[in-house]
């Protein structure tokens, strides 16, 4: 059978299917469940300096083509995170997502998680619905550049920069974060939804992020554009539910993929189903390893 091991920067993964930040990755028990169900790695829910309750419900709303959410970066804050995760057994398969409002906050968070033995961070430069952080930071090219370089200078962490698709010039953003070990593309699209009989917004925060099958073409375009321009390691995310979706991302340059909203439609068996499908595709198409199809459709 074909090999589906892969690497992102210097991180080697047994398989390329990763749980995306924000879905079923707040509690350590759920992270372990994903890993034991066959995820190659897991990204945690984003952690900030201080505890945040997040927004009032409703925080999600299903739409025909995916999901709207405005959970609002609820997180227990870095002190409580450290307390829960200091003796967590799967630190090498867990990428900690962090968010902050400025360079110093990102650097502090990165330092704290490195201290307890994690070696990878994903920078949330892209949450579309919280003021002063996420994509508001992530659209400031100078700040993005400084956040990435400071973390690279001051820690040994591998850094994945999760970029927002809600910009005109994604390439400029990718270049600003080029010191990162990898790009995670993409976060949710800024969106809203309406309930017509009450004439109210479906999310308490009005604005949320749109994920799921409907955003896959946008995510594919982002992966294609950035891979073509930079050739760097890319973790593809956005609307991946099946192995066929995953293959599309590999062909356009992604070295691994993340799934999130898929867990609304599928159970925890989704990891093994996608991995089995990838293996079978590689076998059927005469490839001996996943590496052989990564970026195969992109002329560089």
């Amino acid at each position: 059978m074909a090999s589906i091991t892969t690497s992102v920067g210097s991180f080697s993964l047994e398989n390329p299917v990763i749980l995306a930040s924000g879905i079923l990755d707040e509690t350590s028990g759920s992270i372990l469940r994903s890993l034991r169900s066959g995820a190659g790695a897991v990204v945690t829910k984003s952690i900030g300096i201080s505890e945040r309750k997040g927004y009032s419900t409703p925080v999600i709303s299903e739409v025909g083509t995916g999901l709207l959410n405005a959970v609002g970066l609820s997180n227990p804050g870095i002190d409580n995170f450290v307390e829960e995760y200091k003796s967590f057994p799967e630190k090498k398969k867990t990428i900690v997502s962090i968010f902050g409002g400025n360079v110093e906050e990102f650097v502090t968070l990165a330092g704290r998680i490195e201290e307890i033995g994690f070696d990878k961070v994903e920078l949330n430069l892209s949450c579309p619905h919280v003021k002063g952080v996420g994509s508001e930071v992530g659209q400031d090219l100078d700040m993005v550049e400084e956040i990435v370089s400071e973390i690279k200078n001051r820690t040994k962490l591998q850094v994945w920069a999760k970029l927002t698709p809600n910009v005109t010039d994604l390439i400029a953003l990718a270049k600003a974060s080029e010191k990162a070990d990898a790009y995670t593309l993409i976060n949710t699209l800024r969106a809203t939804g309406v309930e017509i009989y009450s004439r109210k917004f479906v999310l308490s925060n009005t604005i949320g992020g749109y994920s799921g099958p409907g955003i896959k073409p946008v995510a594919l375009r982002a992966v294609y554009d950035v891979y073509k321009e930079t050739g760097k390691s890319i973790v593809g995310v956005g609307g991946i539910t099946t192995w066929q979706d995953a293959i599309e991302f590999f062909l356009l340059g992604a070295r691994a993929i993340q799934i999130g909203t898929a867990l609304l439609y599928e159970d925890y068996s989704v990891y093994s189903k996608v991995n089995q499908g990838i293996k079978k595709y590689l076998d059927d198409e005469g490839f001996s390893k996943l590496e052989d199809i990564i970026g195969a459709m992109v002329a560089r």
Partner: protein, 249 residues
């Protein structure tokens, strides 16, 4: 998002209401809805009747439930669901143990499967939906047995083939602690945790990686015993661990 017209709203006691609504729902006993107040919050609520017309029974404890208690016949109500699994089909002798508004959930079983009902409340004024023959426990002894519903029930566990439990987590934990675990009686718990999404993706209600909203809300005693977080700590809205007070029932 579904919407339906309120058929009736009944005040069951000082702060518990049953709201029935016009909707042909396909639900199993023990399932819940995410009920939304437009412009306000969305909260999980057990169905107390699943046959037509369906109803929810709830205690007023905040803005959302206060708003719902003020709805009148003909007003619209909004909800998603039903969600969650359901109580398994029982046979033989059945007992129901309900604490607080946990009675709403077990009520959805009662019309189909007759059994003995053990109800716990703080005082007689907190009781609701009572029927003849219910076995009652109150903390202050103002009605029935003085003490907890678990203490009232535990001596009788072997009289039953199936037991269904719904109530606050410390109550369920107390049953786990007091019961003879070698009992042949099949015991099922409907569990309750802070829920945000109701559909198994936000992780707010997870206990040891088990999603109360999607893998449950109903679990066998064997499944609950595997959850070493159960009855020990819960999660706040931020995801922070909060320990239950010790020695509290």
């Amino acid at each position: 998002m579904n919407h339906a017209r309120v058929i009736d709203i009944v005040k069951e006691n000082k702060d518990v209401f049953t709201l029935s609504f016009d909707f042909s729902i396909v639900a199993k006993p023990g399932q819940f809805l995410m009920v939304w107040v437009p412009g306000g919050k969305e909260i999980p609520m057990s169905l107390s009747h699943i046959t037509s017309p369906p109803s929810i029974t709830f205690r007023v404890f905040g803005e959302t439930t206060k708003f719902l208690s003020g709805l009148r016949k003909g007003d619209r109500m909004y909800f998603r669901g039903p969600y969650g699994n359901s109580y398994p089909e029982p046979s033989g002798r059945i007992a129901y143990i309900a604490g607080g508004t946990g009675l709403a959930s077990v009520y959805s079983m009662l019309s189909k499967y007759i059994g003995d009902v053990f109800v716990g409340a703080r005082t007689k004024d907190d009781l609701f939906l009572l029927k003849k023959g219910f076995k009652i426990a109150t903390d202050d002894g103002s009605a029935g047995f003085k003490g907890t519903v678990i203490d009232l029930f535990v001596p009788h566990v072997d009289d039953y083939d199936y037991v269904f439990v719904c109530g606050p987590e410390p109550m369920a934990k107390s049953l786990l602690d007091k019961i003879d675990r070698k009992t042949k009686t099949k015991i099922y718990f409907s569990l309750e945790r802070l829920m945000k999404c109701g559909v198994g993706i936000c992780d707010s209600c997870s206990v040891n990686g088990i999603r109360i909203c999607k893998d449950g809300t109903i679990f066998s005693i064997e499944e609950v015993l595997k959850m070493n977080e159960f009855g020990v700590f819960k999660r706040s809205e931020s995801g922070k661990i909060e320990f239950f007070a010790k020695n509290k029932r």
